[in-house]
């Protein structure tokens, strides 16, 4: 790499707008120009994809992807910057990084950039005719790309203004019928294809509610025109179908305000490849970081972060992941302490993004966080004191063990899972809800391996008043609902989309959905008495597609049809498949749930929506956690131990300048409000009182309730879920005015604060001095000693009011503070 080529590089760029980037590169190269070795930004090679090109048919084009490799390992897209020249312009021409056929023949494409050159053989054939258009393979993707068959337009159940397409083109036969035959065939006019209503509407030559979707000089238009001119063929049944799509690049680190071309290639069932860059649909999940245009050109903005571009073609999807690091990333990234592999994986991501993690949280903050996250309980003042005065360097690890062994552990985790498993008294009756909850609590009390209890749950049968898990089949009553709930709750696959149509972001079709539902087809329920049912498997039954009546083979997602469906309870086979270590979803979802529980945000969000198009923010970490869970025999406590001991979990919630805006890389602890039940218990604990829960013995904790319908204004307004969706999403931590009013002014809270048996009264009766009252109340409510500021605030308060009143005001203040309400 010579100086000369570097300067040519600059000259070439000067004509374009990517000036900021180039100026930086140039400055850097110039500064290092005198050094012996090549500059970090020097270009060492030029890559061209694809490396040979065949164009068959006069409409065919090939997208090129041209990439330069720099000495520092960075890759830059130069698809639109490199010079393209064709040896015989009569055979093909190059436009905007694409190669288009002109006439049959062979030639060579020369790509030159920054002094480097690559030569690519090009072959053009079949140019004298438009190749036969295939309805399902060529025309339908066009409707998806242009949005014609989207749910908001002709794809909705009732169609749009009399013209109905299947949503995302999942039903080619129906769509063909709609376009070619319905409305007395008026949508196409083969005698003069140009005058077809379909084209007139799509180009807005005639008024079209959806406006102009394509231009007359576009390739899309040419394709539709050719299809109509060919007498609108349905296409050969045996024509190869799309088996997968490949994208290049699959991931890339990009600078702000730069461009990156995406190359999308369809792989057909016969192994042939076809460039579908222009026909595919692109969506970004973070348009501010990287936006993408039709045609696959992505552009980064000024905002650092990550973006996933979903590329969709004919129901097949692939994802391109872009990272835009912070521009002010530290030049030398420090060596960070590592407690366990979690830290290494998180630090590695932070290093890529140029973010520094926060400091380690102090002991008191850590202890409170550990208690609240693990057992939904505040640490008692004496526990805080004992922990703070423990000098041993390994004390955090020992206390983690102690907290994991507490009885409240089972209460708290049964509560969490009761949300997911819809333990709803209204649906199940008192006995049913009680039994299912009790069963769940036992699983956690015994720390039974996750795969074991899920197996037992999925295959449960018997009397619902005796067998807790049987009630799962009472809360969810049809094979379709069971398929949906089991899939979402244990696999994180939102198969419900495919109940009605092809999954919009995934490969799942109706056949996959009903294939899964088939495992539950023979479940029957007999009423024993009110609120009690006998649930049993009454023999395998076929499942049929509602639309066509076709029999759907019962099989797990991406799996094989079990051979003994007729002779066993098919749920056994489903449970075995689900909990097999090689199942790609089961352990990932469990790991992601636990991670989200402790760290406040899932590696995948929503936590139970695992799919290629919704990638984890730290894929290696999720992979590691999932493998670890499976390797440890699905011991949930073991994975919790790993998470709790990591430095990442123990980071402070106070951000630094580099990570203030980070909300997904776990550079600091993300604060969260206490869940309703935990908060109610915490108020009781901090005030030294006990909540009276109607029908329960005094002292019963709210986290131990089995009855989700127990009348409680407090639990209602603080977001106790109704338990009607198989997820944790029904539990809300969103603040409302009713919550704020209640904490500030409810007689119930005021009574607790001033209760004759409460902590203020006790401290007052013990003739404690002001300092001790402040100290004790802070320890009880906040799990730490008072800060200077709190002591100052209290001093003033106590000087102005009688001691008891001042103490009440101080406790009220603590209960209304962020430090109390939030886990931080």
């Amino acid at each position: 790499m010579s100086r000369r080529s570097t300067s040519r590089f600059r000259r070439h760029f000067a004509g374009h707008c990517a000036l900021a980037l180039v100026a930086g590169l140039w400055a850097c190269a110039a500064a290092q120009g005198g050094d012996a070795g090549p500059a970090a930004t020097a270009i060492v090679s030029l890559g061209v994809e694809p490396c040979e090109i065949t164009l068959s048919g006069n409409n065919r084009q090939q997208q090129l992807l041209l990439t330069v490799h720099r000495a520092d390992g960075r890759l830059l897209d130069v698809t639109r910057l490199a010079e393209l020249s064709i040896e015989s312009p009569g055979v093909a021409r190059a436009v905007d990084g694409r190669l288009a056929a002109v006439a049959d023949g062979e030639t060579e494409l020369t790509v030159s950039h920054a002094g480097l050159e690559r030569r690519i053989p090009v072959r053009v054939q079949g140019c004298d005719s438009y190749p036969p258009v295939h309805f399902a393979n060529d025309v339908l993707p066009l409707f998806s790309k242009l949005g014609c068959n989207s749910g908001g337009c002709h794809g909705k159940a009732s169609g749009q203004n009399g013209f109905k397409l299947s949503v995302f083109g999942f039903d080619p036969a129906a769509d063909y019928d709609a376009i070619v035959k319905q409305a007395r065939g008026r949508r196409l006019f083969p005698a003069s294809p140009r005058h077809s209503l379909l084209l007139a509407k799509a180009t807005a030559r005639l008024p079209h509610g959806g406006g102009q979707r394509m231009a007359e000089d576009s390739g899309d238009y040419q394709l539709l025109l050719a299809w109509i001119a060919q007498a609108a063929p349905l296409g050969d049944d045996d024509a190869p179908s799309v088996a997968a799509i490949r994208v290049s690049p699959s991931q890339r680190v990009l600078a702000p305000s730069s461009q990156q071309q995406i190359l999308a290639t369809a792989v057909y069932s016969d192994g042939s490849l076809c460039d579908v860059t222009a026909a595919a649909t692109y969506t970004t999940n973070a348009p501010l970081v990287a936006d993408v245009q039709s045609g696959g050109l992505a552009e980064t903005g000024q905002v650092p972060g990550e973006a996933a571009i979903t590329v969709n073609y004919m129901g097949h999807v692939a994802v391109v992941a872009f990272q835009v690091p912070r521009p002010e990333a530290p030049a030398v990234y420090p060596d960070l302490p590592v407690h366990n592999p979690i830290d290494e994986l998180v630090w590695s991501k932070l290093r890529n993004m140029g973010i520094l993690p926060s400091e380690l949280a102090d002991d008191a903050t850590f202890l409170r966080r550990l208690y609240l996250d693990t057992i939904g309980t505040l640490p008692a003042p004496e526990e805080v004191r004992a922990f703070l005065s423990d000098p041993a360097p390994d004390k955090r690890g020992r206390w983690i063990e102690a907290v994991l062994a507490r009885d409240e552990y089972a209460d708290y985790w049964a509560l969490k899972w009761a949300d997911v498993l819809l333990v709803d008294r209204k649906q199940l009756g008192e006995r049913g809800a009680f039994e299912l909850h009790r069963w769940l609590r036992r699983q956690f009390a015994a720390n039974r391996p996750y795969d074991e209890w899920v197996q037992e749950l999925i295959t449960a049968g018997g009397n619902s008043a005796r067998e807790g898990p049987v009630n799962f089949f009472r809360a969810v009553r049809t094979p379709e609902e069971l398929a949906r709930n089991v899939s979402q709750a244990f696999l994180g696959v939102r198969i419900e989309c495919a109940h009605c149509h092809h999954h919009p972001f995934e490969k799942w079709s109706q056949t996959d959905f009903y294939g899964l539902a088939g495992f539950f087809s023979g479940i029957e329920r007999k009423t024993i008495s009110e609120g009690r049912e006998l649930v049993y498997h009454a023999g395998y039954r076929e499942t049929r597609l509602p639309l066509t009546g076709a029999v759907v083979p019962t099989r797990p997602l991406d799996g094989q049809v079990p051979s003994d469906l007729e002779t066993v309870d098919p749920r056994l086979r489903l449970a075995e498949w689900m909990t097999a270590p090689e199942n790609p979803w089961f352990s990932r979802l469990a790991a992601n749930r636990l991670w989200k529980h402790f760290l406040g945000r899932g590696l995948v969000e929503p936590e139970d929506d695992l799919r290629t198009t919704n990638p984890a923010t730290n894929e290696p970490l999720l992979d590691h956690l999932a493998r670890q869970l499976a390797a440890d025999g699905y011991d949930l406590k073991s994975l919790m131990r790993l998470i709790l001991n990591s430095r990442v979990y123990q980071l402070s919630s106070v951000p630094n300048d580099s990570n203030r805006d980070d909300e997904q890389n776990f550079s600091h602890y993300y604060v969260k409000r206490m869940p309703a039940e935990v908060l109610l218990d915490a108020i009781s604990q901090a005030t030294g009182t006990s909540e009276v829960l109607a029908g329960y013995p005094p002292g019963t904790r709210a986290i131990a309730l089995w009855d989700n319908r127990l009348p409680s204004y407090f639990l209602e307004i603080f977001g106790r879920p109704e338990r009607n969706s198989p997820c944790e999403c029904g539990r809300s931590s969103e603040p409302t005015i009713a919550q704020a009013l209640h904490l500030m002014n409810a007689p119930e809270v005021e009574q607790k604060i001033s209760s004759a048996g409460g902590s203020v009264a006790r401290l007052h009766d013990e003739h404690s001095d002001d300092a001790r009252i402040v100290e004790e109340l802070c320890l009880a409510a906040l799990g730490r000693r008072a800060t200077e500021r709190e002591i100052d605030v209290a001093r003033e308060l106590f000087s102005q009011a009688p001691r008891r009143e001042a103490a009440e005001d101080f406790l009220w203040t603590l209960l209304n503070s962020y430090d109390f309400l939030f886990v931080h």
Binding site: R660, D661, S725, I737, A746
Partner: protein, 479 residues
């Protein structure tokens, strides 16, 4: 700013939206929240539809009111359809309403009746009437946070000023309270609970000396709406509350400055509002009916419904944009059979003795009151129900569930007075002319409030969902 993967939820928080706008993401309008959209439009100098109504008061009759016995009488229908009531002339020649609605008749010159409302989303499904989303639900006695937002929640979502009072208040209690069930509709659904209405609480009672309920002897439901926990408790003065507030702010300052995280900011806003409600005179005044002339209270009717409507007027005066007053069914809480609109039995005595007179009383008083204060030109009043009732009278003298045709009444701001839109057939069974969907009704209300019916709001996956749900404003009833 670092933006995260799968950032759907993030875009629901105000801070992020502002950041979004600052980052110049105007191309992404569809996927982001409305406030930037509005701000962007303002910035671009284009004009929003000018709403005639600053506020709306919805009088909601739960249970499927028999609107053919109210606003769409069929005197020439066969007797098993016609019912017992006669039509009377109104202030507008050619338009008639039920003889038991004299005040409604008197205000016809400022009102419009839509007689062709229908939906196919199922009986007792209260979601369509509040949202315009007309799909049947698996369960009509619970709500889900994936449902579309109510009109009021959209108002709250779009509300720019963090005023003392929220933009959306729901009275006298949550929908379904009287039956101890949660009926869907009034909520913010996928927008998030912080855009739910501020619900008042009610503690209704009946007169002590009232005779046992029997046909022809209805009991009047008394009570007033109150905000829970909004009255300072014993021993707590405004001064003491203010001093406590000062303390908590001093303590919190540290954490907020240090962390400044979204969750804290959101809670801060609600706490600020709660403080204001407890301490600010204007907020307290809105619920203080003792400040009203007792004569005016009599005119509204000393019922839970009437008093709630009077509070509604006070709330509108205080700047609240969307106020709902529901006539709930109190079967479970109070064992009252007569006081609801779900009249499967004794439709005519119930309507004649209780429902119609008290509705008419409150409606007439509300319009008089708004008018005399010069507020009727900027306040829209809507009387609507979740569905209608069968044309044929059943063996118990009642009418059963019917969603295929019913009437809704509009009055006040922006309404072309003396209008009848659409028509039912000769038996008020099906739509004969100009069918109107619940989405059309909601969209008309949006239009009147100056909210662009083309507006979309982001769902949980950040997909833009049109608030209109395919509805179109009924231009013929607009002034």
């Amino acid at each position: 700013m670092i933006t995260m993967l799968g950032s759907s939820r993030r875009c629901c928080d105000g801070w992020t939206r502002r950041e979004t706008l600052r980052a110049g993401a105007l191309t992404a309008l569809g996927g982001f929240g409305l406030p930037q959209f509005l701000a962007a439009r303002e910035a671009l100098g284009s004009t929003a539809p000018q709403g005639k109504a600053k506020s709306v008061i919805v009088l909601y009759l739960l249970g499927g009111a028999a609107s053919q016995d109210m606003y769409d009488l069929k005197p020439n229908a066969p007797s098993e359809v016609r019912g017992e009531f006669n039509p009377i002339d109104t202030a507008v020649p050619g338009i008639q309403v039920c003889e038991h609605l004299p005040q409604t008749a008197r205000w016809m010159h400022r009102s419009a009746i839509v007689r062709s409302v229908n939906h196919k989303a199922g009986c007792h499904n209260t979601l369509p009437s509040y949202t315009g989303y007309e799909e049947p639900l698996d369960n009509i006695v619970s709500t889900k946070d994936t449902y579309p937002p109510s009109m009021g929640s959209v108002c709250e979502y779009l509300s720019q000023q963090p005023g003392v009072l929220p933009a959306y208040v729901y009275m006298p209690c949550y929908l379904g309270w009287g039956q101890s069930i949660v009926r869907p509709g009034p909520y913010a659904g996928f927008l998030g609970r912080r855009y739910d209405p501020m619900f008042t609480e009610c503690n209704p009672h009946i007169d002590k000396d009232a005779p046992r309920e029997s046909p022809g002897h209805p009991q009047v439901l008394r009570g007033q709406p109150r905000i829970p926990d909004s009255v300072l408790g014993e021993g707590l003065t405004i001064d003491r509350l203010n001093s406590r507030r000062g303390l908590v702010e001093q303590i919190d300052q540290q954490l907020r400055l240090a962390e400044g995280q979204g969750a804290l900011d959101q809670y801060a806003r609600q706490r600020q509002r709660a403080f204001s409600l407890l301490t600010s005179p204007e907020a307290k005044a809105a619920f203080d009916l003792d400040a009203e002339d007792p004569k005016l209270r009599e005119r509204y009717g000393r019922t839970l419904f009437g008093e709630s409507a009077l509070v509604a007027r006070r709330l509108v005066e205080a700047g609240v944009r969307f106020v709902n007053v529901t006539w709930d069914c109190y079967w479970e809480r109070l064992q009252l059979q007569h006081d609801c609109w779900d009249t499967h039995t004794r439709n005519f005595p119930i309507m004649r003795e209780y429902n119609l007179p008290y509705l008419d009383l409150t409606y007439g008083a509300l319009l008089d009151d708004l008018d005399s204060r010069g507020m009727l030109d900027e306040t829209l009043v809507v009387v609507m129900s979740d569905f209608g009732r069968t044309p044929r009278i059943n063996g118990n003298g009642g009418r059963d569930h019917w969603t295929f045709c019913y009437s809704i009444l509009f009055a006040g701001a922006g309404i072309r007075g003396g209008t009848v839109y659409g028509a039912s057939d000769s038996q008020a069974a099906y739509v004969a002319d100009k069918p109107v969907s619940t989405a059309d009704i909601c969209t008309t209300i949006y239009q009147l409030l100056g909210i662009d019916p083309e507006t979309t709001v982001p769902d949980k996956l950040n997909r833009p969902v049109p608030i209109a749900h395919g509805g179109r404003p009924i231009h013929d009833i607009l002034a």
